[in-house]
Subunit: 332 residues, 2 copies
């Protein structure tokens, strides 16, 4: 299984991308194809890797963060995003990881990999780790800002199939993100979606509020991509705040000022904050297209990239596209 | 200045309401009128207050959390929510604080206090305290789940006037909560709202993302009530998580296991978590009606109620309704 990694995309490309890829290859024994400028990548791989055995696929163009997605994809056929999605299309790579322009990745994925049969809108599935033993899947985490109720039902179906494979949950609980638990709560979109979700075969547990989402009340949380994106980024902001605060405090552990239960408590705090850190979960999976795509955060450094590659590897292994297609067609 | 407090509403009514009111009266020298069942309240006041000098206004009925707002208001004319809003209408109380059924409070406020002239939809203004020196105002925090762009412009105007008075900021920066910074990012509602906000006299700084909101990038964050409610509750969930974690750790301070910089760091962590705690900020202010209403969290206990009363007192003092009306009409 080969994972293609966009070495041109993201705020810290190409260096941190190469570092993350090298770390992932060594830690998870994944075969990686770096997609980018060969000359520079060859040099970076020689610098960072102990065994410079990386495949490098040439992609001479870079799509910048603020470029218009459709125009960029059309005008830059040799961009890492176009080349990477085509590697998946041609079954050369089992997944493509990119920290580049999200809109451009989505556009290239739709164009080159196509939507799965019957799917109206592919969606981003983000992972939330806070209090729950398992991560909670949040879908849509940002692909579709304006949604219809039928889209949310499909998000619930895709999320359920992904949770079964990826998390190994038999009958994933599906919750609808809303401003109140009661069936009558919500906006026009969620109230109509509620009525449709009730009629499905899914394990729909009703509305879930913001604070309940963090407690693992549902395994799959369904929402429109606008709300989902804002919620994920708000959580990321909290993660940053506490990372900074706890980072300052790491010295106390080193100084041995903390011992016994105080140290244990400090470690517990640290691990909670770590679970909230986007660098740990690495990225979001695009579901509903014919290929595995993981979109990493634009400001990903080596650690986040390493984890995004790990996520892509696990997703491709545990929820191969054929399984999602079959699951989707069985549930309809 | 008299603040009316709903003693029938909320998960811990009436005991915690009375306790909170007693604490607020003593700490902030506020005159309070408790609205509820006189016999019980007399007894509780005698029990908790050192000087039992509370005014008690009889309200024999309680609107339950899951009652339909409009039906409840109609069928329970002697409910604390109806009686309390009428005290404000009749200029007996300067503000009304309730932890009861939010929908019923909004309905009673609209019926009894009426919308301000020209305002399409009154909105809830929540306070976010995370990293910023000043709290950030989030409007709408849950009154209007489905919005039009023109509503969001009015939320921005109301929020600006409130920020000037309540926070003492000369030219409050207004941000539009969205899934990206660029003007083209957002859903249909926010993209259209962006165009309208650009044309106003407000200090509009553009789109603000979830993580930026926590960093105090804007003083007033405008959003629809569905998104605003979910974002506030998600933050509340984080606050709870860290409260629990740090609560466990308080023993270390008492045990003097922490000293010097380790203790200082621990205190800093604690104060950050405290700023995130809904019990500290107490509630949300309803803006755009002819009277001051503060809606407290349903699970408020004494401390949250005390802070909600303090908020109502400051809001009524710093942003009297006439000032909001004048500000609104000047800006149009």
């Amino acid at each position: 299984m080969i994972i293609a990694v966009d070495a041109n995309g993201g705020d810290y490309a190409p260096r941190e991308l190469v570092k993350g890829a090298v770390e992932a290859a060594e830690e998870y024994k994944v075969d990686i194809a770096l997609v980018g400028r060969k000359t520079i990548l060859d040099m970076l791989v020689r610098h960072y890797a102990s065994r410079p055995s990386f495949t490098i696929i040439e992609a001479s163009q870079t799509i910048e963060p603020n470029e218009h997605p459709v125009q960029a994809i059309r005008s830059k056929p040799d961009s890492s995003i176009v080349v990477g999605t085509k590697l998946v299309r041609d079954s050369i790579a089992s997944a493509f990881v990119s920290a580049g322009n999200t809109g451009a990745i989505l556009t290239a994925a739709f164009l080159n990999l196509k939507k799965m049969e019957g799917i109206q809108r592919p969606a981003l599935c983000g992972l939330i780790h806070v209090n729950a033993a398992n991560p909670v899947l949040l879908i849509d985490a940002g692909a579709n800002v304006d949604c219809q109720p039928s889209f949310l039902v499909q998000f619930a179906q895709l999320g359920t199939i992904f949770a079964k494979g990826f998390l190994g949950i038999n009958s994933p609980r599906v919750g609808l993100l809303s401003n109140g638990e009661e069936e009558i709560k919500g906006n026009l979109l969620t109230r109509d979606s509620y009525q449709l979700l009730k009629k499905t075969e899914l394990n729909f547990i009703g509305n879930v509020e913001g604070q309940e989402m963090l407690k693992g009340k549902a395994d799959v949380i369904v929402t429109d991509g606008f709300t989902g994106n804002i919620v994920l980024k708000t959580m990321e902001g909290f993660g940053d705040t506490f990372q900074n605060l706890l980072g300052v405090g790491q010295v106390f552990r080193v100084d041995h000022q903390l011992q016994g239960p105080a140290l244990a408590h400090y470690v517990e705090l640290g691990s909670t904050v770590k679970r909230m850190d986007y660098k740990e979960y690495g990225g979001a999976c695009l579901l509903g297209i014919n290929g595995n795509i993981v979109i990493a955060h634009g400001r990903s450094q080596a650690k986040a990239i390493k984890n995004a590659i790990h996520l892509a590897h696990r997703a491709a292994h545990l929820t191969p596209i054929e399984a999602i297609k079959n699951g989707y067609h069985l549930s309809n």
